[in-house]
Symmetry: C2
Subunit: 351 residues, 2 copies
């Protein structure tokens, strides 16, 4: 090791799902939406004047923030916008989790949480989910420096009712509680309805899943204006200009095409339920996923083998080699045709 290496922050990074670039494949491994974004996206690019690119974009991202605030019926100063929900969450960890007490999150959850905690040297403690992969709010009755969990949870897809969330909020008035709702549009009611009653609640959502814009990178947080103003201070202390003008225009186009959004979400939920039925017929068991993915386990063939055999057929699903979940496949819901083909291959593999 060189002498200058001693002062370097050494971390074990998050490993995103594979992004293979094969022409003919079925990609069910990174929970992307199989449908294209609003057709109006094309118009945005056509009408854009590239001369504008010489100027810095709006640091306050006002146009998009206003559009988000209107869509969700909150005030503009209750909205924070970032480069995907990962950026929003990373900045939220940095802003809100500065206690000597550990922050709490489920033992089975989005694999970025412990990575951010390690990066910023934030103490953390994982709280075991019940046997059915659900959250027991009583487990969150302990001293903590903050709480975060996804709803629906990843990679299980389990959706928790707002009663559960409210119980956690009531028990923890001194902690910032972050509900990471990346998949909420495929599930039940959002915790957004609680934001005005609980000023320590931050709700985070993304354009990457239900709005088919993983490749644009837009995420946002909604909370009371004090939380948002602290988050903005940290953002402006990190990078003043984050979203470029093209990203902002594309995001607005997605929000404005409400019909398209609703139609695609409905279609995807339909395909998810169809896939669940077929998986059940093949003896898979799985929690009742409310995301755009299904977390399934087979009684006789190990997940690791299934993943491998699917890969040989150019079908990619996600596998986590972690305690309690290492016999599960996380299957993103694709188009109807993709899921039919997937199920056919699965039948063949399990024969």
């Amino acid at each position: 090791m060189r002498t200058w290496e001693k002062n370097i922050r050494k971390v074990v990074p998050y490993v995103p799902g594979e992004q293979p670039k094969k022409a003919k494949m079925i990609k069910l491994n990174t929970n992307e939406n199989p449908y294209p974004p609003t057709p109006n996206a094309k118009k945005v690019l056509e009408e854009f004047h590239t001369e504008h690119l010489k100027l810095y974009p709006d640091p306050k991202i006002e146009d998009l923030t206003r559009c988000i605030s209107k869509t969700y019926g909150v005030k503009e100063n209750q909205v924070f916008t970032g480069i995907g929900s990962d950026d929003v969450l990373a900045l939220a960890f940095l802003t809100f989790f500065n206690s000597d007490d550990p922050i709490l999150f489920p033992d089975i959850t989005y694999s970025f949480y412990d990575v951010w905690a390690e990066l910023y040297k934030i103490k953390y403690k994982t709280v075991a989910l019940t046997e059915n992969f659900t959250i027991d709010p009583l487990d969150y009755r302990q001293k903590n420096g903050g709480i975060i969990f996804p709803n629906p949870n990843a990679p299980t897809g389990v959706y928790e009712s707002l009663d559960t969330i409210e119980e956690i909020l009531k028990e923890n008035p001194d902690s910032v509680v972050i509900v990471d709702e990346a998949y909420i549009d495929f599930a039940g009611p959002s915790a957004l309805s609680l934001v005005d009653r609980y000023d320590h609640l931050l709700v985070v959502q993304t354009f990457s899943k239900s709005r088919s814009m993983a490749g644009v990178r837009i995420g946002f947080a909604i909370g009371n204006e004090i939380l948002i103003s602290y988050l903005n201070d940290v953002k402006y202390s990190f990078n003043s200009y984050t979203l470029n003008e093209l990203t902002i225009r594309l995001g607005i186009a997605a929000l404005e095409d409400k019909n398209y959004f609703e139609k695609r979400v409905k279609q995807l939920i339909h395909t998810r339920e169809w896939t669940k039925s077929r998986l059940k017929e093949l003896s898979f068991s799985f929690p009742d996923s409310q995301g755009n993915f299904i977390f399934a386990s087979h009684p006789s063939k190990h997940a690791k083998e299934i993943v491998q055999e699917l890969k040989e057929r150019n079908i990619y699903v996600r596998y986590f080699d972690k305690p309690r979940i290492n016999n599960y496949l996380r299957i993103t819901v694709g188009t109807e045709e993709e899921m039919e083909e997937f199920i056919d291959h699965l039948k063949d593999i399990l024969k």
Copy 2:
């Protein structure tokens, strides 16, 4: 203060230059390039398939990284790419500056350095520039946890020779030394030629100035592969997917249009020198700026008043109310026409 506020990171953010949105104005306040980016940018948007936006972009940003590595004659694993050089620098602070000894940077410099240090609770010490706003390498002969300075410096525009930089590198073999070359294309030789000889040197550049892409948000760092690999680990621990596919394509278009780039840089330097002559005629004094801006002071009229009067005429320049520099204007070099108009107004104001 609410009880949950106690664990929040409280910072005083960086304040970027005003981004007024007036139809008729001369904007010389944020060091943007007055010329549009390569005309090929339009083609990039026209040819882009918006369907791709449903998929996450390449987390490794390989195509753009390869193009940067070819342009600057280094290996691919010597290049790190981020969302503007602010993102690259913020991640570099987090990665490389973890010592108990203070990091060092000039007292007059890019105003983001102390903001990042405060954000990450990094100890820092500013080192006074000489009376002529130059760096004396002897001043950097002291215990430190890292060194950073821009070359040319901001907001003075003073360019330091590679000899000065090499002296600092030789004296500080145990520290990571970051040279922030946002404005280097308007100045002398880059420290990139030193990267292979000094493994503790990181050079940071941007597409925001010389490549007219402030609105796209691309910055990059070049250093030895060990430095770059640590930086990547931290990036992947923060946000896996940063630059979207459109940004990547626009960046490649800018790099590939070498003729356009060189023509515009030459034109801008010519206008800068013309403006310097006119300012001299108006009795302004200024260091010999090598950036796309001029840092000028008038013997009889205070900078604050000039800024105000220019603003009333819809001309924006930057003013810093800070010790040693509070009687200076930072004037971005615009088009020839803009600078002629600017000089005319200045004459009128000084009458």
